[in-house]
């Protein structure tokens, strides 16, 4: 059944009861997911601020993590967009360690090259999350060890 569904998805001419989803829809769905992710991180950042949790170092680090994730989403969203703009001949060679890119051919190539380094944002973002949780965990342990009056 799954095979028939997957098979039919590539043959739009035979679909009467449902609409077909050709290639760009996947990118659009992915881009919308980035927007949704960024928006949720924005809401979380605001919520932490409004509840004054960001006064605590642990939550403050998590807040920073949210901001970095927002930035990462912006970068990746832009990266996907720029990737669609550059032509295949800007990348030269087989896609391995030796592949090169012609940055001088188009400004988009430069953006593409920079935006491809998105891990420089998402790794610090998740690092901040880990540090924040670690700080909260230590805080909880310290509180648990404090003798009750």
């Amino acid at each position: 059944m799954l095979a028939s569904v997957l098979g039919m998805s590539g043959t739009a001419d035979f679909a009467w009861a449902f609409q077909s989803h050709p290639a760009p829809e996947g990118l659009y769905a992915h881009q919308l997911a980035h927007v949704f992710f960024a928006a949720s991180m924005g809401i979380l950042t605001y919520w932490l601020h409004r509840n004054r949790l960001s006064n605590q170092s642990g939550w403050r680090l998590i807040q920073v993590s949210c901001v970095l994730f927002i930035a990462w989403n912006v970068v990746t969203f832009s990266g996907h967009w720029v990737e669609e703009l550059i032509s295949d001949n800007m990348l030269q060679g087989y896609p391995n360690w030796n592949q090169r890119i012609a940055l001088g051919s188009s400004p988009a190539a430069v953006f593409y090259y920079v935006l491809k380094l998105d891990h420089l944002l998402c790794v610090p973002a998740i690092l901040c999350l880990v540090l924040g949780l670690r700080s909260l965990y230590k805080q909880v342990l310290a509180k648990a060890e404090t003798p009750h009056e």
Binding site: A33, F36, F37, N96, N98, Q99, L103, K116, V123, L127
Partner: protein, 517 residues
């Protein structure tokens, strides 16, 4: 080649970053799990765990995709990557959505959690308050009980110590409680004889008083200073000023009454005596004036009558007529003399006398006649009476008047008791003459000392006997008390003060009541 740049740095960052993402995301999950374990009830940590898990899923899907892509391309397997690529992208997209959805969902959860925490705090506060109240309950009960006891004692002292009767009745006017003054007034020794046994209405002398009182209580809820006559256990009557309120609970009507009754019997008797004394004083003043005005013409009439009698020998018509005039003139003079005695207009010769001897002398005069009339004489004379300074003849006249009145009150046969007593301080002597006659109605008791008041048929009495007696006793600074019950008899008591010092001859012309002319 000079315009191209290597993609190796991008590849390096991509692979290393992906690996770091996987490691760090699992580290985040680990810390989040520790937090949940440390505080399982904290919804925030649950969210953090879900968030971290979703991020781990995102990191794994993305990193696996990126690393696999690089590996497959390095292994010259681009076709495989092309086949896997859609699934990697779809899972990656799904991971974004899950992370975002968890975050948004948590906002709602947090609101609910906040409300629950508030309720929890409120419950904890309430629990602490209940614990505190429980701890303090016993001491509070003790404290309140002591306060109540103090208050009860305070009001009990007021209740029991009152000199006036205080009573509490139920809805049917039965006694629920009464103080000692009330018990004494009503002639009872113990509350048990009264409380729950008798009702207040049974003590009223006049049923109409009771009916009117209860009606007013029902209508107005209270009565103030109502004059009532109550009858005590021994039959004596009390005059009371009664104030009472009705208890009304609003649903079942009157549930009881509380009241205070002030015994004003002594005060009323005193007022009556004063009124009587005042009235007799006025009558005495009038009588004195009349007696003096009549006495002189009567003297002249008697003198001339006696002169004419000498000139008219006995047996003649004129002599007989003059005798009749003389007789009636003498009767008038007797009345006038009695009036003067009542008004204390005659001289008294006070000497030390033995009251018992006076009584016995009078009794010896009447005893024979009483014996014939089937009247029993009973005497109870105190042998230790002090000597009085008084006009013995006039005192005997008083005793004679009282004994004759007692005799006339007993229609056929009966007993007359004469007793003499002295008070514990030896300051007065009481001579009581009690008969078992018909008694005197209440409405006439106040009039018996009035001059010319008599219940005897015309011609049988002048109505001056008690008036004269009253005047004589007043002249001796004493008093006459009369107690009578219709059908059971009367008691007249003469109370004379014991005076010391030399006897004096009195020529008092003052009126009864002590008013001087």
């Amino acid at each position: 080649m000079s315009d191209t740049y290597p993609m190796a740095p991008v590849w390096f960052v991509d692979v290393c970053g992906s690996a770091a993402m996987v490691v760090l995301s699992f580290a985040a999950v680990w810390y989040a799990r520790r937090l949940v374990k440390a505080q399982p009830a904290n919804a925030m940590w649950t969210y953090v765990l879900w968030f971290s898990a979703a991020l781990a899923g995102f990191a794994v899907s993305r990193s696996v995709g990126h690393i696999a892509k690089r590996c497959l391309l390095l292994l010259n397997m681009p076709d495989v990557w092309v086949a896997l690529r859609p699934y990697s992208g779809a899972v990656n997209t799904l991971a974004f959505v899950v992370v975002a959805a968890i975050t948004l969902f948590f906002q709602r959860v947090d609101k609910i959690n906040w409300g629950i925490r508030q309720d929890k705090h409120a419950l904890e506060d309430a629990g602490r308050e209940v614990m505190r109240l429980n701890r303090n309950l016993e001491s509070l009960v003790i404290q309140r009980t002591e306060e109540l006891s103090r208050s009860e004692k305070k009001y009990r002292r007021v209740f029991e110590g009152s000199m006036d009767m205080i009573f509490i009745l139920d809805g049917d006017a039965r006694f629920l409680d009464i103080n000692q003054a009330g018990l004494t007034s009503l002639g009872y020794a113990a509350k048990e004889d009264l409380v729950g046994v008798l009702d207040f209405q049974s003590f009223f002398v006049h049923e109409t008083d009771c009916t009117r009182l209860m009606n007013d209580l029902r209508m107005n809820g209270f009565v103030r200073d109502r004059e009532c006559r109550l009858r005590s256990k021994d039959g004596s009557e009390l005059f009371v000023l009664l104030s009472s309120t009705a208890r009304n609970d609003g649903q079942s009507g009157i549930t009881g009454y509380e009241g205070i009754a002030k015994d004003v019997t002594a005060r009323l008797l005193m007022e009556k005596q004063l009124q009587r004394a005042d009235k007799l004083a006025s009558l005495g003043q009038i009588s004195t004036g009349i007696a003096h005005e009549i006495n002189n013409p009567l003297g002249v009439m008697l003198g001339y009558t006696q002169l004419l009698l000498r000139e008219n020998p006995a047996g003649t018509q004129n002599h007989d007529d003059l005798k009749i005039i003389e007789k009636h003139a003498r009767n008038c003079k007797t009345v006038v003399d009695d009036l003067l005695k009542f008004a204390r207009g005659t001289r008294t010769n006070k000497t030390p006398i033995d009251v018992n001897q006076c009584v016995q002398e009078v009794l010896s005069l009447v005893s024979h006649q009483f014996e014939l009339d089937k009247i029993t004489l009973a005497t109870g004379l105190d042998p230790h009476l002090p000597t009085l300074v008084a006009d013995g003849e006039k005192i005997k006249q008083v005793f004679m008047n009282l004994l004759m009145n007692a005799r006339q009150a007993i229609k056929k046969s009966g007993t007359i008791s004469v007793a003499t007593t002295t008070d514990p301080d030896k300051k007065s002597v009481r001579i009581s003459i009690r008969d078992t006659g018909c008694g005197i109605p209440d409405e006439l008791v106040d009039k018996i000392f009035d001059p010319f008041f008599t219940t005897k048929p015309v011609g049988e009495g002048t109505g001056l006997g008690l008036s004269v007696s009253y005047g004589i006793i007043q002249d001796h600074n004493g008093r006459i008390e009369a107690h009578s019950e219709v059908g059971r008899g009367s008691t007249f008591s003469v109370v004379l003060p014991v005076t010391t010092g030399a006897p004096a001859r009195s020529a008092s012309l003052s009126e009864p009541g002590g008013h001087s002319t």
